[in-house]
């Protein structure tokens, strides 16, 4: 097919399978795929006992051997750290130069993730006890040596703001800065062209925004990005919008305006906009109607007889 077999990555495999076996199914998980068996089949526990029927692990008869062995190891580390602390104190008060393990930018593994790691089911109570024990370990001053052990059970969080792509500012003939952006909400799509002019006029589909949105609520939605950044009279907007209803058009415009304004802003302002929720597209769409029910959730009237 003209592809290089040496540098064929998993992404290329996915692409080729999607091309060779086109499928119209809606659920992505139902489509044909070709991946490493470890990713497809869930991990199963290997056989825990030998030919003579005797289990390998000494904690097999507890039922949750990996969980209890993990707890066992953690407790051993806690005791070791306490013993070391007692020793150091008996030698004399030493200035504390051991720093605690940094926990910023990571979180504890969730119960489901821990279950996946240990390949066996745990109860909520067990999970809570595990987290308690780890916190106790971290509270001791000499825990720096156990850093790797602890990091195995914490997950790193990505910094959300680094994912935001900001388009560069464009300039038209007169030197006026402008930027365009798109927005979508629940079948309404729109495009916005923001110009850094000085008048606060916004035209939607050729008409004034006061006439396009007679309802106050929609105009307040339009006002939100400007008001948040205190730039109410600064920009001039030209928008086109189609599809959806009144409220979804207003929501789509709001998203498009916030995205268009990004190129005029500094990093800190972009981060504050993201935290305010102005840059998040609203994922809510109309839920499908199911057979045997009158609507998406509403059931037919139940008659006793």
């Amino acid at each position: 097919m003209g592809e290089d077999p040496e540098t064929f990555t998993q992404q290329d495999i996915d692409r080729s399978i999607a091309y060779l076996f086109p499928s119209g199914l809606f659920d992505k998980r139902a489509r044909p795929l070709m991946k490493h068996p470890d990713e497809i089949f869930p991990k199963q526990q290997a056989v825990q006992w030998g030919a003579d029927g005797r289990p390998f692990h000494f904690l097999f008869y507890t039922g949750k051997q990996s969980y209890y062995s993990l707890m066992h190891d953690t407790v051993a580390k806690v005791l070791a750290a306490e013993k070391q602390q007692v020793l150091l104190l008996s030698e004399g008060p030493v200035p504390q130069d051991t720093k605690p393990i940094s926990l910023v930018g990571s979180r504890w593994l969730l119960k489901e993730e821990l279950e996946e790691l240990l390949v066996e089911t745990i109860s909520d109570h067990d999970y809570a006890r595990f987290i308690q024990l780890m916190e106790r370990l971290l509270s001791l001053p000499n825990c720096l040596s156990e850093k790797d052990f602890v990091q195995r059970y914490r997950k790193q969080l990505e910094i959300q703001s680094s994912k935001q792509q900001v388009a560069p500012l464009q300039y038209d003939e007169n030197g006026v800065a402008y930027s365009t952006a798109d927005g979508r909400r629940k079948t309404a799509t729109c495009t916005v062209l923001l110009r850094d002019c000085g008048s606060g006029s916004i035209s939607i589909n050729g008409r004034d925004y006061l006439h396009y949105f007679p309802v106050l609520q929609d105009r307040e939605q339009l006002m939100f990005p400007f008001h948040f950044l205190d730039m109410l009279g600064r920009f001039d907007g030209q928008c086109t919008v189609g599809g959806g209803g009144r409220s979804s058009q207003a929501g789509a415009l709001r998203l498009a305006i916030s995205r268009a304004m990004l190129s005029f802003l500094s990093e800190g302002q972009v981060e504050s906009m993201r935290q305010a929720g102005l840059l998040t597209p609203d994922p809510r769409v109309k839920e499908r109607k199911k057979p045997g029910q009158e609507g998406a959730r509403r059931k037919f009237t139940w008659k006793k007889r």
Binding site: G200, S201, Y209, L210, L216, E220, M223, H227, L232
Partner: protein, 348 residues
């Protein structure tokens, strides 16, 4: 009291209408929300704006021996056409003119509860309730003229009732108010008399006639009134509308016709229409042609500031942010449209 000496220097400033004038000149003329505001603030203040000043300057400069000039106020919804009209009417009445004010011509073409076949002309229809209401208000507005003007013709209403030639207009109006059945014909008679007599000059007991019509586009549109066999009534078949159209024709001298277009009350017209051609239609435009169009737009920055300061002065805006931060928000949300601004400030 700055009655006749308003000029461009006073653009954007408010002047107070005396309460007596409010009751006599405007028993039925002001917009509903403005009347509520007058009641709340206990005074009626009108802002001096460009369209009204322009109209007043035209009226001052016009020649009244020529046929009546027609002025048309048009603009976006809520931009202040009716208020400018009322401002001009106030000026006219303080100058001693006779004001014929029809507050909303749309009310005459829809929601008619009683429709009588006209006695005068068989194919036309009468609207007794609207006609008698209007005559009552006309009487309040123009008290002093009622005794001065004498009728030129004898009018017979029924076999026994008639109004003699030379009797004062007041008698005719009273008759119209009391005899509700023939009130539409009385209206027609009143209009005809005023039309004929306005042509005289001021020395020989003449007067100047100002015809002010709000919602003039209803005269040539469609009506929602139906005859008994459910067929729609055309506007020409209504006596009141027929007589009004005769007034608008510029075949009489000694006065002016000031009209406002209104989309809000009009029937079967899209809400984005505000230009004269769209709202008047072909027929209306031809009848009104030639006219002087006066555009009315949203508040300018200076006018907006003045309105905002007026509300602050009256303590209408109670929110603590109203002084500084809220102003920009309000400008954005209302886009300086007077009616939207007023509605917005109502709950602040």
């Amino acid at each position: 009291m700055w009655r006749a000496c308003q000029s461009e220097r006073h653009l954007g400033q408010y002047y107070t209408l005396p309460t007596s004038h409010l009751h006599t000149i405007f028993p039925h003329g002001l917009p509903a929300r403005y009347q509520q505001q007058v009641k709340t603030f206990n005074e009626g203040c009108v802002m001096v704006r460009q369209p009204a000043l322009e109209l007043i300057s035209y009226l001052k400069a016009a020649d009244y021996s020529k046929p009546a000039v027609r002025y048309l106020l048009y603009g976006l919804k809520g931009s202040g056409k009716t208020m400018s009209l009322c401002h001009t009417i106030h000026y006219c009445s303080t100058q001693g003119w006779l004001v014929l004010h029809i507050p909303d011509a749309h009310l005459w073409v829809k929601n008619c509860k009683e429709l009588l076949p006209s006695s005068y002309h068989t194919s036309r229809f009468d609207q007794p309730i609207e006609a008698s209401n209007w005559l009552r208000n006309f009487r309040t507005t123009n008290e002093r003229f009622l005794s001065k003007i004498k009728l030129r013709q004898r009018y017979t209403w029924t076999k026994r009732e008639s109004t003699e030639k030379g009797s004062p207009l007041g008698e005719l109006v009273d008759m119209g108010v009391s005899r509700v059945k023939s009130s539409s014909d009385v209206v027609g008679a009143v209009l005809k008399e005023l039309r004929l007599q306005a042509a005289e000059t001021e020395e020989s007991e003449g007067f100047r006639l100002a015809v002010a019509i709000d919602g003039v586009n209803s005269l040539w549109g469609r009506t929602t009134i139906k005859k008994e066999d459910k067929s729609p009534v055309a506007p020409e078949e209504l006596t009141l509308i027929h007589n009004l159209r005769k007034m608008i024709d510029n075949n009489w001298c000694g006065g002016a016709v000031i009209a406002t277009l209104s989309q809000t009350g009009s029937l079967y017209s899209p809400s984005s229409a505000y230009l004269p051609k769209e709202l008047l239609g072909e027929e209306g435009f031809d009848s009104m042609d030639p006219f002087i169009p006066v555009p009315v737009s949203n508040y300018s920055e200076k006018e907006f500031e003045s309105c905002y300061l007026y509300y602050l002065d009256r303590h209408w805006l109670q929110h603590p942010h109203s002084e500084n931060e809220g102003k920009k928000e309000i400008i954005f949300l209302s886009n300086r449209n007077p009616s939207v601004l007023e509605r917005l400030c109502a709950f602040l």
